[in-house]
């Protein structure tokens, strides 16, 4: 039996706006096996970032269950939740705004250690920080530098060191490499992979970049307008995409090979509004294959092959 470390059931996050209720995350369900990586893919506005934030309750979900190692963390009080956060961490997308500009590398990385009172004594804490810096590939001499003196790649390493400082079991990676240059992206991806092996980490990897998610995850969930429209093991998803949106997304990736654009699906129109969406397929208006039923009833996620679920009337 798979060791499931996290199970999310019926997760919803709605925001109240003057124009109505914004369905940022609408009934999302998934589970993650310990030591593996679940990739969540989608474009802007699909709700992937909000989902990630909800998992750590940085944003309070409207409803749903988030069961981490058997406990529904939504039911935890403030103090207990803070204790749980020792095991669940997050790496942010923007390596600039996620670091306090007035704190040195040392101060930033030691903060989780100090906040959780895990190590005492200045020298001992500093040694731990140096250890972490070495693990993520930051030179010792950078210990007293400020974020603005460093490039994006190094700043992101600080963010990673901070996230692993207290040995979490589970990390939400919210587009950790999108803001970095191509050659640095590869360096950071390799680092994350190594850390996963060394520390037996479980990742949720949020990104809009399908080629990265192909390389990095074991399972992929594709999100559109707050809902998961398809979910499958990575190889299966890329070999047999079933949902029209997944197909369009896959064909839209410009591959660095000549002649790769044959059969590209160009979506028409723009993304629909996430405010008070009607009970219909949210992708219907842009879909080439849409039929009558698509605009009348919302499709449910169904398992069409072992491990491969899809929400589409036409599959």
């Amino acid at each position: 039996m798979d060791d499931i470390i996290l199970e999310v059931r019926n997760l919803k996050k709605y925001f109240k706006t003057p124009r109505g209720k914004l369905h940022a995350v609408d009934n999302v369900n998934f589970s993650v096996v310990r030591g593996k990586t679940l990739g969540i893919v989608g474009e802007s506005g699909c709700g992937k970032t909000t989902t990630g934030r909800c998992l750590l309750r940085l944003v309070e979900p409207t409803s749903g269950e988030i069961i981490f190692e058997g406990t529904d963390i939504r039911k935890l009080g403030r103090w207990e939740m803070r204790k749980k956060l020792r095991e669940m961490q997050i790496i942010f997308q923007d390596p600039f705004s996620s670091l306090d500009p007035r704190k040195t590398v040392l101060q930033t990385i030691q903060e989780p250690i100090i906040a959780n009172r895990l190590i005492r004594g200045k020298a001992a804490i500093e040694n731990r920080v140096l250890e972490l810096m070495e693990t993520v590939g930051l030179a010792e001499r950078l210990i007293n530098t400020y974020p603005h003196e460093l490039d994006g790649g190094r700043r992101q390493r600080i963010g990673i060191a901070r996230a692993i400082a207290i040995n979490p079991k589970f990390i939400v990676c919210d587009e950790p490499i999108s803001a970095l240059d191509v050659s640095i992206q590869a360096q950071i991806l390799n680092l994350l992979k190594n850390l996963q092996r060394k520390m037996e980490l479980t990742y949720i990897f949020i990104t809009h970049d399908l080629s990265v998610v192909n390389y990095f995850s074991d399972e992929v969930a594709v999100m559109y307008l707050g809902q998961i429209v398809e979910k499958a093991p990575t190889e299966e998803l890329f070999a047999n995409p079933l949902h029209p949106y997944t197909k369009a997304l896959l064909s839209a990736i410009p591959l660095p090979e000549i002649g790769s654009r044959r059969g590209r699906v160009i979506l028409k129109g723009e993304i629909a509004s996430p405010i008070d969406p009607p009970d219909a397929c949210r992708f219907a208006k842009r879909c080439e294959c849409a039929v009558g039923m698509c605009t009348e009833k919302a499709p449910q996620l169904r398992e069409v092959k072992p491990g491969h679920t899809v929400a589409c009337h036409l599959v």
């Binding site: 750590l56 500009p101 007035r102 040392l106 903060e111």
Partner: protein
Amino acid sequence: MKDTILASKKYRKRSQIAEVWHRLIKNKGAVVGLFIITLLVLDALAVRLILNYDTQVIAQHITERLQKPSLRHIMGTDNLGRDIFFRLLYGARFSLSVGLVSVAIALAIGTTLGAIAGYYGGAISDIIMRTTDIFFAIPNLLMAIVIVTALGANTLNLMIAVGVASVPQFVRITRATVLTVRNQEYVEASRAIGRNELAIIFFHILPNCLSPIIVMVTLRIASAIITASSLSFLGMGVPPPAPEWGSMLSDGRRFLRGYSYITLFPGLAIMITVLAFNLVGDALRDALDPKLKR
């Protein structure tokens, strides 16, 4: 275990304060301003040791009245025979103390209210901000006059009056800064690693709000000195015979024709002091902005 020298000490870098200082003194205006302010502070602190208040500053020597500047009286004497230069030197104490204390009062009240309004938002913020707006609508000077009239004209009340008049500025700027900082991702990151709210406010939010507040302090000191002098000019500040620069300006009004030096020197003193603070304030604004680096 690494060697006993802490790595943080081995790779010591200039602290942020030192960094700001170095940037500040690159600005020539700031250097001039700081020089003037230093002189003034030294003067204010040391003048009591050099001059005898009763005999040299307020004593009247009618026989020596209205003398033009000479070697004996560097800036001349006023209509009551008092040496203007000595009075000016002493007057610095009033101007600086009112400037500093009033801004200290405004800082304490204003930043607290602003921080609360910025951090908690909602109804509390609305109440605080709308009250502040009311105070903003009343001209600075007018409000100070009202307060002094109610409490009586002496140095302490002057400080309170000018201080209260400066509170709205601090509320507004603190709230604005706290609002911006509060939404930064590193605050969220801090929550994610388990910091409680109070620690976040003190450790992350306040340090990042300091820059605009520091600049505001310097600029408000300048403006407080002017307000205090204006009140004294109108007879509502420090009572005579205290050598407050504003009162000295007022005293010299009747003698503008022929004896303009009586007003000239106090006026210059006010102007130069205010200029000095403004120069430093402006340069501080540039020096504190880390993005101006490249």
